[in-house]
Amino acid sequence: MSAPVLTEPDALAPARPSMAARVIRGVLPYVLALVLAFVVAGIVIAALGYDPIEAFRTILTTSFKTGFGFTETLTKWVPLTLLALGFTIPLAVGRFNIGGEGQLLVGATAAAGVGIVYADLPSAVLLPMVIVAGVLAGVVWAGIAALLMGRFHVNEILSTVLLNFVSFQVLDYAATEVWSDPAAGVAATQGVGEGAELPTIGGPPGVHAGLLLAGAVALATILVTRRTSAGFELRAAGTNPRAAAINGIRVERVAVIALIVGGALGGLAGALEVSGVHGRAIEGMQTNFLLLGIIIGLIARGSAVWVPVVAFGIAILEVGASSMQRTVGVPAEMVLIIEALILIFLLLSDVIAGRLARRVA
């Protein structure tokens, strides 16, 4: 399948109209869309007999009202950003990495495995090992799909989706047969050694230091895609593979590397979840990070600059919406519906922006 071409419209033009004006013009439709989404969702919530005002207060403030709300939002931001980047980097060459879930899980499994087996090593040695193990596992997992794609032309959506299902069993096996923790009450590995745990910053409760790593990865992605020839080749190969190949770019190789890099980020996300959040690998730890990551990547139009921003917004939404149950008592399912409404209206903001632009022109 051929991808929607995602270019970074502003990548080449760091100096055009004033930054502020562009930000306002860029953000305004989104704000409008959010307001609309809240109005519609509010009507639905009220119709079901719950208090919409309180519901929205929860969504918007849970992340900021308390220290741990903010911590929690940042903690979610890490895997969301990594998986979104892991989706958008291959997408730039028109390949769909739907395997973030599996890459995260095998990354987490490998990281936990190393963290358990070498539990006694000091942090300075163990922590890097754990993270590298996660990344490598993600690389291997995406590498399978990349190999099948590059050598055998097996569609990557097919292979990554199937590999997700395989990864569930990989984790399950590790968590119930290899490093099973009888006290966990869920398929989970034993805890990793202390040396495998990331230090926390700030707090208490504080955020694990993986936040910095994820931030660095996001910055590096921006730098690479905008300023390096590799990034240029990535975008060129995605925009028109034929023209790119004629001009010396090895498109298939670029695609394979992009998919593998995407896998590395998924594996990293898994390792950070283990060493920063859970201290072990747990079945179900991927929650819906993959789908949200895809959504973030697409809303950000593949722009490495916007991915972390959108990811933050989605993390707030996730944290806030799931708290609505607690504050107003809306049923769990309602949370999904409200999230869907917000997403659809976010998309509509493009239509609104387009119409606005046309009116101006």
């Binding site: 080449l12 060129a236 925009t239 028109n240 023209a243 004629i246 001009n247 010396g248």
Partner: protein, 543 residues
């Protein structure tokens, strides 16, 4: 019209041709903008019954846009269309088809995985009947109008010329009272053009009106009665063939041509017959220029097609520095494969391609680029540009790793943009700005961009395929000038073209490609059109 069953239109909505002065088609006050580009500005157009009406003008003048509006593909910002004197609301191609309008589009619009017959019957009727009847009908039409094509063949296996014929067959099959042909001849051989014209004469004799768009003055003068000239989104004027001559029309098309009209322009205009164009200064001593060592040596080259069969079969060529080698032939005889193999884009099956003595076969494309091979592909939209990327990006493409544009391991965008700006100026690329998407440029400007990129590499070997197809006079001249420059700089040029005018003008030496093999070689001026035609048709030298 005679051809084709009139599937599209019902008789109530569209009454038969109105006798007398009623015009089958008038368009008035049509405006259309794409963002900041005003493609049409209050354009008008009028078509009489049973005429072939030429529509000419430079690249980007608005010809296609106007016809797309008529065909329902573009919705105009304002303007009125009348068919047979009645206001027509054409909102989609379906409406246009119902009004008896048919269009051959400038760019092939085919489902490439479908067979010819499937492409032709698409959208017609609901009869579930097999395609056998349709195939028979297509064969009839092909015979009647001299548009040879195998109805069962898969479209993506056909040559560009054959695909172009399929486009015409699609319209003929439907039958139409108003027939729009947007540059239908750009991929046809002269013989095919003559056949098409004969068909058109037959068609208009039945009362059908034809709009014929072309950049070739000769063609327009040959087939059209009246000719409307467009410039900058307006109809400038409409002249009758008898009121003007080729040069006059040429001036109208692209603005006053300077007095120093060279034979280049004559050729570009399609004014001269093949073989007649003897360069004014044949003195430009070919042997002297070509006296150096062979820059490009091709020996026993075999190149597979996409389907894996050998499309180029044992070709030997040698091109010296400062020499232009023309490769003539009917489309589909291995030109694309040869061009791509010479550019290092398509891996050769066997044989060698030496540039300054180094065999490049088997190396990655980027090594060919560094070895100084530059390539101007035939399909510039598909192979030449990153359509959705900016002009700047496109100018950088291929040079992104060059130290000229890098600083500290990173791309130095300031320098890249600067370079883009100067290039846009020196190559007169018409674009809203360096950040505009390249895909929105007109064909002529896309070609300037592609050439700019090729020359930026200071190539030692230049491979061009049909470099002026679809370009207006100025743009074509621009291309010729660049080729001359390259030659004078000592570049070895391979010009693969189906346009004999062009080859006669530019090539120092010409080989004819037939069925993937070189079947003849002629020095400049040492041939005539018939002889070449025989070679191109596969009649062997020794036969």
């Amino acid at each position: 019209m005679t051809a084709g069953h009139t599937t599209g239109h019902s008789s109530e909505s569209v009454p038969g041709p109105v006798p007398g002065p009623a015009r089958p088609l008038t368009m008035a006050g049509v405006s259309k903008s794409f963002g900041s580009v005003h493609a049409l500005v209050e354009a008008d157009f009028e078509l009489a019954a049973g005429e072939v009406h030429g529509l000419v003008g430079g690249n980007g003048a608005g010809k296609t846009t106007l016809m797309n509006v008529l065909y329902g593909l573009y919705r105009p910002d304002s303007g009125e269309i009348r068919v047979d004197g009645r206001e027509a609301h054409i909102r989609s191609p379906r409406d246009a088809i119902e009004h008896g309008i048919g269009m051959v589009h400038q760019h092939l619009l085919q489902v490439s995985t479908y067979s010819v017959v499937e492409n032709v019957v698409l959208g017609t009727g609901k009869d579930a009947g097999g395609l056998r009847d349709a195939a028979r009908r297509i064969t009839e039409l092909s015979d009647q109008f001299g548009l040879a094509v195998d109805p069962r063949a898969r479209t993506d296996r056909l040559s560009v010329g054959a695909r172009q014929r399929v486009e015409i067959l699609k319209v003929l099959y439907r039958g139409a009272r108003i027939l729009i042909l947007d540059e239908p001849t750009s991929s046809l051989t002269p013989q095919e053009v003559d056949d098409l014209f004969a068909s058109l004469r037959g068609i208009v004799a039945e009362g059908t009106s034809v709009v014929f768009i072309s950049h070739k003055v000769r063609e327009v003068m040959a087939i059209c009665g009246r000719i409307s000239v467009m410039r900058d989104g307006r109809r400038l004027t409409t002249v009758h063939r008898s009121e003007t001559d080729a040069t006059g029309l040429a001036s109208l098309m692209v603005g006053e041509l300077a007095a120093e009209q060279s034979s280049d322009v004559a050729a570009a205009l399609g004014l001269a017959a093949v073989g007649e164009v003897v360069p004014e200064e044949p003195a430009a001593p070919v042997p002297a220029r070509a006296g150096g060592p062979a820059r490009l040596t091709v020996s026993d080259l075999v190149v597979p097609s996409d389907q894996g069969v050998a499309a180029v079969r044992g070709v030997d060529l040698a091109v010296r520095a400062g020499e232009v080698l023309g490769v003539a032939g009917v489309a589909g005889n291995g030109q694309v494969e040869l061009a791509e193999a010479l550019a290092g884009v398509r891996p050769a099956q066997s044989g060698s391609v030496r540039v300054d003595g180094t065999d490049l076969v088997g190396r990655q494309t980027r090594h060919w680029l560094t070895a100084g091979v530059a390539y101007v592909p035939e399909d510039r939209h598909r192979d030449g540009i990153l359509g959705a990327a900016s002009v700047t990006d496109n100018l950088l493409l291929g040079a992104q790793r060059s130290s000229a544009y890098r600083r500290g391991g990173l791309i130095d965008w300031r320098r890249v943009r600067e370079h883009a700006r100067t290039t846009i100026e020196t190559y007169s690329i018409k674009t809203p700005g360096p950040d505009a998407p390249a895909g929105n440029l007109s064909g002529g400007n896309i070609q300037r961009l592609v050439l700019a990129r090729a020359f930026d590499r200071e190539p030692t070997v230049l491979v061009l395929q049909n470099p002026t197809r679809g370009l207006d006079l100025r743009s074509a001249q621009f291309v010729y000038d660049r080729v001359h420059e390259a030659r004078d700089r000592g570049c070895a040029v391979v010009l693969i073209s189906e346009d004999l005018d062009e080859l006669s003008l530019l090539a120092d030496r010409m080989v004819v490609l037939y069925s993937g093999e070189v079947v003849g070689e002629r020095a400049r001026g040492d041939y005539d059109a018939y002889e070449l035609g025989r070679l191109m048709a596969g009649v062997r030298e020794d036969a």
